[in-house]
Point group: C2
Chain length 327, copies 2
């Protein structure tokens, strides 16, 4: 079974661990994660790719579960030096182990490798799969498309708005710099077209999934995918599960509500435009919205959506696959 997942960082990585657990004991499973690269940036002369790294570390089992990001057993010896030199952002700590990844990626890119190949080289270090399941990570694009946030106080890189300001000043809109000239990374469109199931992880609908879909060709590929497309709500009971997606949704005029996000993605009607979803998962507390969504063409199932551990993530992934494949 070929499962293609559009994913952001933390939520995406937990969901992908669930998907891997859900399919690992079945026959040959191939999971392709198409990963948001809008948070990527040049910092201290290094190319940082937060979502790719978060997913890599989580699937490799070397992530810091408690902190929610970075490597377990991390230290900050180099970061202390960079601060002394005034290099980098003081509020964005580059851990030593994490820096190994950034330096390796930057070295590969400087050699002329595209990001997708650098990612293949980096992830090859670990076994990201489990059981019968192979996992590969594809950046949405090899081009440098970065998410910027337009505020009343100027335009910022997304990471500055998100990490330094904690989304504390209103976003007027989000810009993907250079997106017009960008194209999907090699394998991305094929992974969508060849999939048995396409899943939208419970990631930020605006700056993670939305950014992936914004790369020219990807939204159309999902809309035209032969496989069913099922999404998982990142909103439970009108509140974000993690992060500050509400501040992002507000900027695009979408309510912080599981059903509103489903309608934002839209019901897929084959041959008829921009809707993406053949199915949607909401938390039990949002079960009341299921009938109305179904009436709008989005079959919806309710179940516990909090990903507390691999078992709860796997249950969500299984429900998504069942809804998609009608089993």
């Amino acid at each position: 079974m070929k499962v293609t997942v559009l994913a952001g960082g933390v939520g995406g990585s937990r969901f992908l661990r669930g998907v891997r657990a859900a399919v690992r004991d079945g026959p040959d499973a191939r999971i392709t994660a198409i990963v948001n690269t809008g948070d990527d940036m040049w910092l201290a002369g290094l190319r940082i790719a937060p979502d790719l790294d978060t997913i890599t570390y989580a699937l490799a089992g070397v992530n810091d579960e408690e902190r929610g990001w970075g490597r377990v057993g991390e230290s900050a010896r180099v970061a202390g030096e960079l601060a002394e030199f005034g290099v980098g952002w003081p509020w964005f700590t580059l851990g030593d182990l994490d820096l190994g990844t950034h330096i390796a990626r930057t070295a590969f890119l400087r050699e002329g490798m595209p990001l997708s190949e650098a990612t293949r080289r980096i992830t090859a270090r670990w076994s990201l799969g489990a059981g019968s399941a192979e996992v590969r990570l594809l950046p949405a694009t090899d081009d440098e498309v970065e998410t910027h946030v337009v505020t009343d106080q100027g335009e910022l890189h997304f990471e500055e708005w998100w990490t330094r300001l904690r989304a504390g000043i209103p976003a007027r809109r989000f810009v993907q710099t250079g997106v017009e000239a960008a194209s999907p990374a090699p394998g991305v469109l094929e992974a969508i077209a060849d999939a048995d199931v396409v899943l939208l992880a419970p990631s930020n609908p605006v700056v993670s999934i939305g950014t992936i879909l914004g790369i020219p060709g990807i939204r159309d590929a999902v809309a035209a995918a032969p496989a069913p497309v099922v999404g998982v709500a990142p909103i439970i009971g009108g509140a974000v599960v993690r992060g500050m997606a509400d501040a992002c949704l507000a900027a695009i005029g979408v309510e912080t509500d599981a059903a509103a996000v489903a309608r934002h993605y839209g019901a897929r009607r084959r041959g008829a435009g921009a809707g993406l979803l053949d199915g949607w998962l909401v938390d039990d507390v949002d079960a009341a919205a299921a009938d109305a969504l179904a009436a709008d063409g989005i079959p919806t199932r309710a179940l516990p959506l909090r990903m507390r551990d691999e078992a709860s993530s796997a249950a969500i992934a299984r429900a998504a696959l069942e809804l998609a494949l009608g089993t």
Copy 2:
């Protein structure tokens, strides 16, 4: 007093500490070190400048005295990661604290700063001076001129021949890549022309001092300097004090001998060509060569030349200044 010193890494840094100690209690002293950049290289996507860093750390007092290179209290957390990714050279360890310098330098260079300005930014973190003595470091050139070693088995970067092979295969000759188009870094020619004394540190005469002199304009500036030029022998009793300078001298047909190195630099005859030296210091064990060198136009003084600590280095520096200034 303005003292300009041509210097390589380890020997250069010890000598510079001696010069600093020798002049720190006098009136305003300005020491300018013109530092070899031939060992510099791109490694793991980072610009490494071994001699600049060795001197910086030694003058800042943060160097590892015991090991002879790098930072004291160093660790290798990042290097372990890079090895896992197959990035860098396994035999060339990049310490964590040291990596902070490499990353900062690379970030500055990527911003478009020349190496001399990046060096100013990096060294500004510490106080390199002492007492009345100010110290500044100038790379010999801002251009990327790297020393390569031509061997029967091909051409290698100097660091690979020196550090990995321990100079174990014969060097046929040394090449300064791109040297024809290079020019001295801003301030270098002025520091030579304006100096009260020019000193050649007891560094490798071929790949440290020789590489500095090879940058177009520098040899001529030293030969034409209004100030006296005094060098310190890096050879004691026919043996190198540290490193493998004998393997370098062999490649250019110079005997591993204090007097031979003096003759290689040559006696300065004002207005008459390529000789550089107005004076030369040899170790007591080489005192017998002094008369012959003096007869050849190179006044030579013998004294203990092993730089065991700052006091012994300062004694050598004082002798060099005395020989230069006739005091």
